[in-house]
Protein backbone atom coordinates (compact mmCIF):
# COMPACT_ATOMS: atom_id res chain seq x y z
CA UNK A 1 0.00 0.00 0.00
CA UNK A 2 2.62 2.40 1.12
CA UNK A 3 4.95 1.35 -1.69
CA UNK A 4 2.48 1.88 -4.51
CA UNK A 5 1.38 5.36 -3.56
CA UNK A 6 4.78 6.47 -2.29
CA UNK A 7 5.62 8.70 -5.30
CA UNK A 8 2.19 10.29 -5.00
CA UNK A 9 2.70 11.14 -1.32
CA UNK A 10 6.21 12.42 -1.93
CA UNK A 11 4.99 14.63 -4.75
CA UNK A 12 2.17 16.11 -2.64
CA UNK A 13 4.51 16.71 0.30
CA UNK A 14 7.17 18.32 -1.87
CA UNK A 15 4.75 20.74 -3.53
CA UNK A 16 3.16 21.65 -0.21
CA UNK A 17 6.59 22.38 1.25
CA UNK A 18 7.42 24.56 -1.74
CA UNK A 19 4.10 26.35 -1.39
CA UNK A 20 4.74 26.92 2.32
CA UNK A 21 7.89 28.81 1.35
CA UNK A 22 5.92 31.10 -0.93
CA UNK A 23 2.98 31.86 1.34
CA UNK A 24 2.32 35.22 -0.30
CA UNK A 25 1.22 33.52 -3.52
CA UNK A 26 -1.48 31.53 -1.74
CA UNK A 27 -2.67 34.57 0.13
CA UNK A 28 -2.68 36.67 -3.02
CA UNK A 29 -4.86 34.14 -4.86
CA UNK A 30 -7.24 33.97 -1.94
CA UNK A 31 -7.57 37.75 -1.70
CA UNK A 32 -8.07 37.91 -5.44
CA UNK A 33 -11.06 35.62 -4.96
CA UNK A 34 -12.42 37.74 -2.09
CA UNK A 35 -12.04 40.99 -4.00
CA UNK A 36 -13.57 39.72 -7.26
CA UNK A 37 -16.61 38.41 -5.40
CA UNK A 38 -16.93 41.64 -3.41
CA UNK A 39 -16.75 43.79 -6.52
CA UNK A 40 -19.95 42.29 -7.89
CA UNK A 41 -22.36 43.91 -5.42
CA UNK A 42 -20.56 47.21 -6.05
CA UNK A 43 -21.14 46.81 -9.77
CA UNK A 44 -24.69 45.53 -9.55
CA UNK A 45 -26.20 47.22 -6.51
CA UNK A 46 -26.96 46.22 -2.93
CA UNK A 47 -30.48 44.83 -3.42
CA UNK A 48 -30.53 41.71 -1.15
CA UNK A 49 -32.95 39.78 -3.37
CA UNK A 50 -30.74 40.26 -6.37
CA UNK A 51 -27.59 39.43 -4.42
CA UNK A 52 -29.10 36.23 -3.08
CA UNK A 53 -29.85 35.25 -6.65
CA UNK A 54 -26.39 35.91 -8.06
CA UNK A 55 -24.43 34.62 -5.04
CA UNK A 56 -23.77 31.05 -6.31
CA UNK A 57 -22.73 32.27 -9.75
CA UNK A 58 -20.56 35.05 -8.31
CA UNK A 59 -18.71 32.73 -5.94
CA UNK A 60 -18.26 30.08 -8.60
CA UNK A 61 -16.87 32.51 -11.16
CA UNK A 62 -14.57 33.89 -8.48
CA UNK A 63 -13.38 30.34 -7.79
CA UNK A 64 -12.74 29.71 -11.52
CA UNK A 65 -10.61 32.83 -11.82
CA UNK A 66 -8.72 32.17 -8.58
CA UNK A 67 -7.89 28.64 -9.78
CA UNK A 68 -6.63 29.96 -13.10
CA UNK A 69 -4.28 32.31 -11.28
CA UNK A 70 -2.30 29.50 -9.67
CA UNK A 71 -2.40 27.13 -12.64
CA UNK A 72 0.28 28.95 -14.62
CA UNK A 73 2.76 28.04 -11.92
CA UNK A 74 1.70 24.41 -11.62
CA UNK A 75 4.47 23.04 -13.86
CA UNK A 76 6.41 26.12 -15.00
CA UNK A 77 8.95 26.38 -12.10
CA UNK A 78 9.70 22.65 -12.21
CA UNK A 79 10.07 22.87 -15.96
CA UNK A 80 12.45 25.81 -15.68
CA UNK A 81 14.85 24.12 -13.23
CA UNK A 82 14.72 20.68 -14.91
CA UNK A 83 12.89 18.89 -12.08
CA UNK A 84 10.01 18.01 -14.37
CA UNK A 85 12.34 16.27 -16.80
CA UNK A 86 13.84 14.26 -13.93
CA UNK A 87 10.34 13.25 -12.87
CA UNK A 88 9.46 12.12 -16.39
CA UNK A 89 12.64 10.03 -16.59
CA UNK A 90 12.46 8.61 -13.07
CA UNK A 91 11.49 4.93 -12.63
CA UNK A 92 8.50 6.01 -10.54
CA UNK A 93 5.15 6.48 -12.21
CA UNK A 94 5.09 9.93 -13.79
CA UNK A 95 1.29 9.92 -13.71
CA UNK A 96 1.29 9.46 -9.93
CA UNK A 97 3.81 12.25 -9.50
CA UNK A 98 1.65 14.52 -11.65
CA UNK A 99 -1.48 13.50 -9.74
CA UNK A 100 0.31 14.47 -6.54
CA UNK A 101 1.12 17.88 -7.96
CA UNK A 102 -2.53 18.37 -8.94
CA UNK A 103 -3.74 17.43 -5.46
CA UNK A 104 -1.22 19.82 -3.94
CA UNK A 105 -2.49 22.56 -6.25
CA UNK A 106 -6.02 21.96 -5.06
CA UNK A 107 -4.96 21.97 -1.40
CA UNK A 108 -3.20 25.27 -1.93
CA UNK A 109 -5.59 27.04 -4.33
CA UNK A 110 -8.95 25.27 -4.10
CA UNK A 111 -9.38 24.35 -0.46
CA UNK A 112 -8.88 27.89 0.94
CA UNK A 113 -11.54 29.12 -1.49
CA UNK A 114 -13.96 26.45 -0.25
CA UNK A 115 -13.24 27.37 3.37
CA UNK A 116 -13.76 31.09 2.93
CA UNK A 117 -16.82 30.74 0.67
CA UNK A 118 -19.40 30.53 3.49
CA UNK A 119 -18.17 33.87 4.86
CA UNK A 120 -18.59 35.50 1.48
CA UNK A 121 -21.97 33.79 1.10
CA UNK A 122 -23.09 35.59 4.24
CA UNK A 123 -22.32 38.91 2.57
CA UNK A 124 -24.77 37.88 -0.14
CA UNK A 125 -27.43 37.10 2.44
CA UNK A 126 -27.59 33.37 1.69
CA UNK A 127 -29.57 31.18 4.09
CA UNK A 128 -27.85 28.52 6.19
CA UNK A 129 -28.99 25.75 3.87
CA UNK A 130 -27.89 27.72 0.83
CA UNK A 131 -24.46 28.22 2.38
CA UNK A 132 -24.13 24.51 3.07
CA UNK A 133 -25.08 23.51 -0.48
CA UNK A 134 -22.78 26.12 -1.98
CA UNK A 135 -19.85 24.94 0.13
CA UNK A 136 -20.48 21.29 -0.76
CA UNK A 137 -20.72 22.18 -4.45
CA UNK A 138 -17.41 24.06 -4.25
CA UNK A 139 -15.84 21.17 -2.34
CA UNK A 140 -16.83 18.79 -5.13
CA UNK A 141 -16.17 21.26 -7.92
CA UNK A 142 -12.86 22.95 -7.18
CA UNK A 143 -10.89 19.65 -7.56
CA UNK A 144 -12.41 19.37 -11.06
CA UNK A 145 -11.08 22.84 -11.82
CA UNK A 146 -7.57 21.83 -10.72
CA UNK A 147 -7.73 18.55 -12.67
CA UNK A 148 -8.93 20.01 -15.97
CA UNK A 149 -6.71 23.03 -15.46
CA UNK A 150 -3.66 20.79 -15.17
CA UNK A 151 -4.26 19.55 -18.74
CA UNK A 152 -4.27 23.13 -19.97
CA UNK A 153 -1.20 24.01 -17.92
CA UNK A 154 0.66 21.05 -19.44
CA UNK A 155 -0.39 21.93 -22.99
CA UNK A 156 0.74 25.55 -22.65
CA UNK A 157 3.95 24.78 -20.78
CA UNK A 158 6.77 26.99 -22.03
CA UNK A 159 4.60 28.50 -24.76
CA UNK A 160 4.61 32.22 -25.45
CA UNK A 161 1.72 34.12 -23.93
CA UNK A 162 0.77 31.04 -21.96
CA UNK A 163 -1.29 32.90 -19.35
CA UNK A 164 -3.98 34.24 -21.66
CA UNK A 165 -3.83 31.11 -23.80
CA UNK A 166 -4.45 28.93 -20.75
CA UNK A 167 -7.66 30.83 -19.95
CA UNK A 168 -8.85 30.52 -23.54
CA UNK A 169 -8.29 26.76 -23.53
CA UNK A 170 -9.60 25.98 -20.08
CA UNK A 171 -12.56 28.27 -19.37
CA UNK A 172 -14.85 26.66 -21.99
CA UNK A 173 -14.09 23.25 -20.48
CA UNK A 174 -15.05 24.58 -17.03
CA UNK A 175 -18.61 25.31 -18.13
CA UNK A 176 -20.23 22.00 -17.05
CA UNK A 177 -18.68 22.29 -13.58
CA UNK A 178 -19.88 25.91 -13.34
CA UNK A 179 -23.41 25.01 -14.42
CA UNK A 180 -23.84 22.08 -12.04
CA UNK A 181 -22.03 23.80 -9.18
CA UNK A 182 -23.79 27.15 -9.27
CA UNK A 183 -27.04 25.48 -10.30
CA UNK A 184 -27.20 23.35 -7.15
CA UNK A 185 -28.14 26.29 -4.93
CA UNK A 186 -30.65 27.68 -7.42
CA UNK A 187 -32.27 24.28 -7.90
CA UNK A 188 -32.68 24.06 -4.15
CA UNK A 189 -34.25 27.53 -4.02
CA UNK A 190 -36.58 26.48 -6.81
CA UNK A 191 -37.70 23.52 -4.69
CA UNK A 192 -36.06 20.86 -6.88
CA UNK A 193 -33.47 19.81 -4.30
CA UNK A 194 -29.72 20.00 -4.89
CA UNK A 195 -29.12 16.23 -5.16
CA UNK A 196 -29.31 16.00 -8.96
CA UNK A 197 -26.76 18.75 -9.51
CA UNK A 198 -24.44 17.56 -6.78
CA UNK A 199 -24.41 13.97 -8.00
CA UNK A 200 -23.66 15.10 -11.54
CA UNK A 201 -20.85 17.23 -10.15
CA UNK A 202 -19.54 14.19 -8.25
CA UNK A 203 -19.71 12.13 -11.45
CA UNK A 204 -17.68 14.81 -13.25
CA UNK A 205 -15.16 14.69 -10.41
CA UNK A 206 -14.79 10.91 -10.67
CA UNK A 207 -14.37 11.00 -14.45
CA UNK A 208 -11.82 13.81 -14.37
CA UNK A 209 -9.91 12.16 -11.52
CA UNK A 210 -9.47 9.09 -13.70
CA UNK A 211 -8.57 10.80 -16.95
CA UNK A 212 -7.07 14.22 -16.25
CA UNK A 213 -3.77 13.09 -14.61
CA UNK A 214 -3.19 10.65 -17.44
CA UNK A 215 -3.94 13.21 -20.19
CA UNK A 216 -1.78 15.74 -18.34
CA UNK A 217 1.10 13.25 -18.35
CA UNK A 218 0.75 12.70 -22.10
CA UNK A 219 0.68 16.47 -22.68
CA UNK A 220 3.73 16.98 -20.44
CA UNK A 221 5.70 14.35 -22.36
CA UNK A 222 4.86 16.17 -25.60
CA UNK A 223 6.06 19.43 -24.05
CA UNK A 224 9.29 17.84 -22.80
CA UNK A 225 10.24 16.17 -26.10
Amino acid sequence: MNGLLYPFQQSVRRDLLLAARHKTEIITALFFFVIVVNLLPLGIGPDPDLLRKIAPGALWIGALLATLLGLQRLFAPDHADGTLEQMALSPQSFTLLVAGKILAHWLVAGLPVVLIAPVLGLQFDLSGRGLLILTVSLLLGTPILSLIGAVGAALTLGVRGSGALLSLLILPLYIPALIFGAGAVEADLAGLGPEGHLSLLAALLVVSTFFAPWVTTVALRVALE
Binding site: V151, L155, T156, V159, R160, G161, S162, L165, L168, L169, L171, P172, L173, I175, P176, I179, F180, G183, E186, A187, A190, L192, L200, L204, V215, V218, A219, V222, A223, E225
Partner: protein
Protein backbone atom coordinates in the same frame (compact mmCIF):
# COMPACT_ATOMS: atom_id res chain seq x y z
CA UNK B 1 -4.37 -6.65 -50.79
CA UNK B 2 -0.77 -6.07 -49.96
CA UNK B 3 -0.39 -3.89 -52.98
CA UNK B 4 -3.26 -1.59 -52.01
CA UNK B 5 -1.84 -1.26 -48.50
CA UNK B 6 1.45 -0.09 -49.92
CA UNK B 7 -0.37 2.43 -52.09
CA UNK B 8 -2.27 3.74 -49.11
CA UNK B 9 0.85 4.40 -47.11
CA UNK B 10 2.47 5.96 -50.13
CA UNK B 11 -0.17 8.69 -50.07
CA UNK B 12 0.39 9.24 -46.35
CA UNK B 13 3.69 10.93 -47.18
CA UNK B 14 3.43 14.63 -47.97
CA UNK B 15 5.49 14.30 -51.15
CA UNK B 16 2.94 12.05 -52.86
CA UNK B 17 -0.08 13.52 -51.11
CA UNK B 18 0.64 17.01 -52.40
CA UNK B 19 0.18 16.36 -56.15
CA UNK B 20 -2.76 14.01 -55.55
CA UNK B 21 -4.56 16.72 -53.59
CA UNK B 22 -3.76 19.25 -56.29
CA UNK B 23 -5.80 17.18 -58.73
CA UNK B 24 -8.71 16.80 -56.27
CA UNK B 25 -9.18 20.49 -55.40
CA UNK B 26 -10.71 21.61 -58.76
CA UNK B 27 -13.16 18.72 -58.59
CA UNK B 28 -14.45 19.64 -55.12
CA UNK B 29 -14.43 23.37 -55.87
CA UNK B 30 -16.58 22.82 -58.96
CA UNK B 31 -18.92 20.56 -57.02
CA UNK B 32 -19.24 23.21 -54.29
CA UNK B 33 -20.06 25.94 -56.84
CA UNK B 34 -22.67 23.86 -58.68
CA UNK B 35 -24.30 22.60 -55.48
CA UNK B 36 -24.41 26.13 -54.03
CA UNK B 37 -26.14 27.51 -57.10
CA UNK B 38 -28.62 24.61 -57.14
CA UNK B 39 -29.21 24.82 -53.39
CA UNK B 40 -29.77 28.58 -53.39
CA UNK B 41 -32.07 28.28 -56.39
CA UNK B 42 -34.21 25.62 -54.69
CA UNK B 43 -34.03 27.39 -51.33
CA UNK B 44 -34.67 30.96 -52.40
CA UNK B 45 -36.77 30.59 -55.52
CA UNK B 46 -38.57 27.25 -55.54
CA UNK B 47 -39.29 26.40 -51.89
CA UNK B 48 -42.72 27.62 -50.74
CA UNK B 49 -43.25 30.36 -48.16
CA UNK B 50 -43.44 29.08 -44.59
CA UNK B 51 -46.86 29.39 -43.00
CA UNK B 52 -45.60 30.76 -39.66
CA UNK B 53 -42.36 32.53 -40.47
CA UNK B 54 -43.04 33.92 -43.93
CA UNK B 55 -39.95 34.43 -46.04
CA UNK B 56 -37.73 34.88 -42.99
CA UNK B 57 -37.32 31.15 -42.61
CA UNK B 58 -35.14 31.06 -45.74
CA UNK B 59 -32.14 31.72 -43.49
CA UNK B 60 -32.44 28.01 -42.65
CA UNK B 61 -30.73 27.15 -45.94
CA UNK B 62 -27.44 28.58 -44.76
CA UNK B 63 -27.90 28.43 -40.99
CA UNK B 64 -28.55 24.72 -40.54
CA UNK B 65 -25.84 23.49 -42.95
CA UNK B 66 -23.31 25.84 -41.29
CA UNK B 67 -24.19 24.49 -37.83
CA UNK B 68 -23.98 20.89 -39.04
CA UNK B 69 -20.62 21.48 -40.68
CA UNK B 70 -19.15 23.22 -37.63
CA UNK B 71 -19.97 20.21 -35.44
CA UNK B 72 -19.01 17.66 -38.08
CA UNK B 73 -15.66 19.33 -38.77
CA UNK B 74 -14.78 19.23 -35.08
CA UNK B 75 -15.37 15.47 -35.06
CA UNK B 76 -13.30 14.99 -38.22
CA UNK B 77 -10.56 17.12 -36.67
CA UNK B 78 -10.58 14.94 -33.56
CA UNK B 79 -10.46 11.85 -35.78
CA UNK B 80 -7.31 13.09 -37.56
CA UNK B 81 -5.87 14.10 -34.22
CA UNK B 82 -6.41 10.61 -32.78
CA UNK B 83 -4.90 9.07 -35.91
CA UNK B 84 -1.88 11.32 -35.62
CA UNK B 85 -1.33 10.46 -31.96
CA UNK B 86 -1.81 6.73 -32.54
CA UNK B 87 0.30 6.24 -35.68
CA UNK B 88 2.55 9.27 -35.47
CA UNK B 89 1.87 10.28 -39.07
CA UNK B 90 2.79 13.83 -40.02
CA UNK B 91 -0.09 14.28 -42.42
CA UNK B 92 -2.80 13.70 -39.78
CA UNK B 93 -1.73 16.69 -37.72
CA UNK B 94 -1.58 18.85 -40.84
CA UNK B 95 -5.13 17.80 -41.77
CA UNK B 96 -6.38 18.67 -38.28
CA UNK B 97 -4.86 22.15 -38.42
CA UNK B 98 -6.11 22.63 -41.98
CA UNK B 99 -9.69 21.95 -40.90
CA UNK B 100 -9.77 24.14 -37.78
CA UNK B 101 -10.12 27.61 -39.38
CA UNK B 102 -12.93 26.42 -41.66
CA UNK B 103 -14.71 24.87 -38.69
CA UNK B 104 -14.36 28.10 -36.76
CA UNK B 105 -15.72 30.03 -39.76
CA UNK B 106 -18.80 27.80 -39.90
CA UNK B 107 -19.34 28.08 -36.15
CA UNK B 108 -19.18 31.86 -36.50
CA UNK B 109 -21.53 31.88 -39.51
CA UNK B 110 -23.94 29.66 -37.62
CA UNK B 111 -24.00 32.19 -34.75
CA UNK B 112 -24.27 35.15 -37.10
CA UNK B 113 -27.14 33.71 -39.14
CA UNK B 114 -28.74 32.48 -35.92
CA UNK B 115 -28.77 36.04 -34.58
CA UNK B 116 -30.24 37.34 -37.83
CA UNK B 117 -32.90 34.66 -37.65
CA UNK B 118 -33.59 35.22 -33.96
CA UNK B 119 -34.21 38.96 -34.26
CA UNK B 120 -37.35 38.79 -36.44
CA UNK B 121 -38.62 35.52 -34.94
CA UNK B 122 -38.00 35.94 -31.21
CA UNK B 123 -37.46 39.68 -31.10
CA UNK B 124 -33.90 39.42 -29.81
CA UNK B 125 -30.49 39.09 -31.47
CA UNK B 126 -29.40 36.61 -28.87
CA UNK B 127 -31.29 34.31 -26.54
CA UNK B 128 -29.61 31.97 -24.09
CA UNK B 129 -30.99 28.96 -25.82
CA UNK B 130 -29.21 25.65 -25.30
CA UNK B 131 -28.25 25.26 -28.94
CA UNK B 132 -27.01 28.82 -29.39
CA UNK B 133 -24.98 28.62 -26.20
CA UNK B 134 -23.43 25.27 -27.14
CA UNK B 135 -22.57 26.63 -30.56
CA UNK B 136 -20.85 29.61 -28.95
CA UNK B 137 -18.80 27.28 -26.76
CA UNK B 138 -17.88 25.21 -29.80
CA UNK B 139 -16.63 28.43 -31.41
CA UNK B 140 -14.47 29.07 -28.31
CA UNK B 141 -13.10 25.52 -28.52
CA UNK B 142 -12.07 26.15 -32.14
CA UNK B 143 -10.41 29.43 -31.16
CA UNK B 144 -8.52 27.68 -28.37
CA UNK B 145 -7.25 25.01 -30.76
CA UNK B 146 -6.10 27.59 -33.32
CA UNK B 147 -4.49 29.81 -30.67
CA UNK B 148 -2.63 26.88 -29.09
CA UNK B 149 -1.21 25.76 -32.43
CA UNK B 150 -0.29 29.30 -33.36
CA UNK B 151 1.59 29.80 -30.08
CA UNK B 152 3.84 26.74 -30.45
CA UNK B 153 6.77 27.18 -32.81
CA UNK B 154 7.81 23.56 -33.25
CA UNK B 155 5.28 22.08 -35.73
CA UNK B 156 5.55 18.54 -34.35
CA UNK B 157 4.76 19.72 -30.84
CA UNK B 158 2.00 21.98 -32.14
CA UNK B 159 0.41 18.99 -33.87
CA UNK B 160 0.54 16.79 -30.80
CA UNK B 161 -0.60 19.44 -28.33
CA UNK B 162 -3.44 20.38 -30.70
CA UNK B 163 -4.37 16.72 -31.03
CA UNK B 164 -4.62 16.28 -27.26
CA UNK B 165 -6.74 19.43 -26.98
CA UNK B 166 -9.02 18.32 -29.83
CA UNK B 167 -9.58 14.95 -28.18
CA UNK B 168 -10.27 16.49 -24.77
CA UNK B 169 -12.65 18.89 -26.54
CA UNK B 170 -14.52 16.19 -28.43
CA UNK B 171 -15.10 14.25 -25.20
CA UNK B 172 -16.30 17.45 -23.56
CA UNK B 173 -18.67 18.58 -26.31
CA UNK B 174 -21.49 16.14 -25.35
CA UNK B 175 -20.99 16.94 -21.65
CA UNK B 176 -21.13 20.66 -22.38
CA UNK B 177 -24.21 20.24 -24.56
CA UNK B 178 -25.94 18.19 -21.87
CA UNK B 179 -25.04 20.63 -19.10
CA UNK B 180 -26.18 23.65 -21.11
CA UNK B 181 -29.48 21.97 -21.87
CA UNK B 182 -29.88 21.14 -18.18
CA UNK B 183 -29.12 24.74 -17.27
CA UNK B 184 -31.54 25.97 -19.89
CA UNK B 185 -34.49 23.93 -18.62
CA UNK B 186 -33.81 25.06 -15.06
CA UNK B 187 -33.76 28.73 -15.97
CA UNK B 188 -36.26 29.54 -18.64
CA UNK B 189 -38.23 26.43 -19.32
CA UNK B 190 -39.37 26.00 -22.89
CA UNK B 191 -39.88 29.69 -23.61
CA UNK B 192 -38.21 29.46 -27.00
CA UNK B 193 -38.54 26.31 -28.94
CA UNK B 194 -36.55 25.78 -32.07
CA UNK B 195 -36.54 22.04 -31.54
CA UNK B 196 -40.01 21.85 -33.00
CA UNK B 197 -39.28 22.42 -36.66
CA UNK B 198 -42.16 23.49 -38.85
CA UNK B 199 -43.42 20.65 -40.96
CA UNK B 200 -41.24 21.00 -43.99
CA UNK B 201 -42.13 20.71 -47.61
CA UNK B 202 -40.03 18.37 -49.72
CA UNK B 203 -38.46 21.25 -51.62
CA UNK B 204 -37.33 22.80 -48.32
CA UNK B 205 -35.61 19.58 -47.32
CA UNK B 206 -34.07 19.28 -50.77
CA UNK B 207 -32.72 22.82 -50.59
CA UNK B 208 -31.21 22.20 -47.18
CA UNK B 209 -29.65 18.95 -48.33
CA UNK B 210 -28.14 20.59 -51.42
CA UNK B 211 -26.70 23.41 -49.31
CA UNK B 212 -25.28 20.93 -46.79
CA UNK B 213 -23.58 19.03 -49.61
CA UNK B 214 -22.31 22.31 -51.05
CA UNK B 215 -20.77 23.30 -47.71
CA UNK B 216 -19.31 19.84 -47.44
CA UNK B 217 -17.62 20.08 -50.85
CA UNK B 218 -16.45 23.61 -50.00
CA UNK B 219 -14.93 22.38 -46.73
CA UNK B 220 -13.03 19.60 -48.48
CA UNK B 221 -11.75 21.94 -51.20
CA UNK B 222 -10.64 24.65 -48.73
CA UNK B 223 -9.11 22.19 -46.25
CA UNK B 224 -7.11 20.60 -49.06
CA UNK B 225 -5.96 24.01 -50.27
CA UNK B 226 -4.84 24.82 -46.76
CA UNK B 227 -3.13 21.50 -46.20
CA UNK B 228 -1.13 22.11 -49.39
CA UNK B 229 0.01 25.45 -47.97
CA UNK B 230 0.95 23.81 -44.67
CA UNK B 231 2.90 21.06 -46.44
CA UNK B 232 4.83 23.61 -48.49
CA UNK B 233 5.59 25.79 -45.46
CA UNK B 234 6.96 22.85 -43.52
CA UNK B 235 8.89 21.19 -46.30
CA UNK B 236 10.25 24.26 -47.99
CA UNK B 237 13.78 22.90 -47.99
CA UNK B 238 13.10 19.37 -49.22
CA UNK B 239 14.02 18.27 -52.71
CA UNK B 240 10.57 17.30 -54.00
CA UNK B 241 9.15 20.71 -53.22
CA UNK B 242 11.68 22.37 -55.50
CA UNK B 243 10.78 19.99 -58.30
CA UNK B 244 7.02 19.77 -58.02
CA UNK B 245 5.51 22.72 -56.27
CA UNK B 246 6.26 25.31 -58.91
CA UNK B 247 3.97 23.81 -61.53
Amino acid sequence: MNHSLVNWFKFASPASFYPLVGRLIPFFATAAAILTIAGLWVGLAVAPTDAQQGEGYRIIFVHVPASWMSMFIYCVMAFWAALGLAFNTRLSGMMASALAPTGALFAFLSLWTGALWGKPMWGAWWVWDARLTSQLILFFLYLGFIALQAAIDDPRRADKAGAILALVGVINVPIIYFSVQWWNTLHQGASVSITKAPSMAHTMLLGMLLMALAFWAYTIAVALMRVRCIILERELTSEWVKKNAME
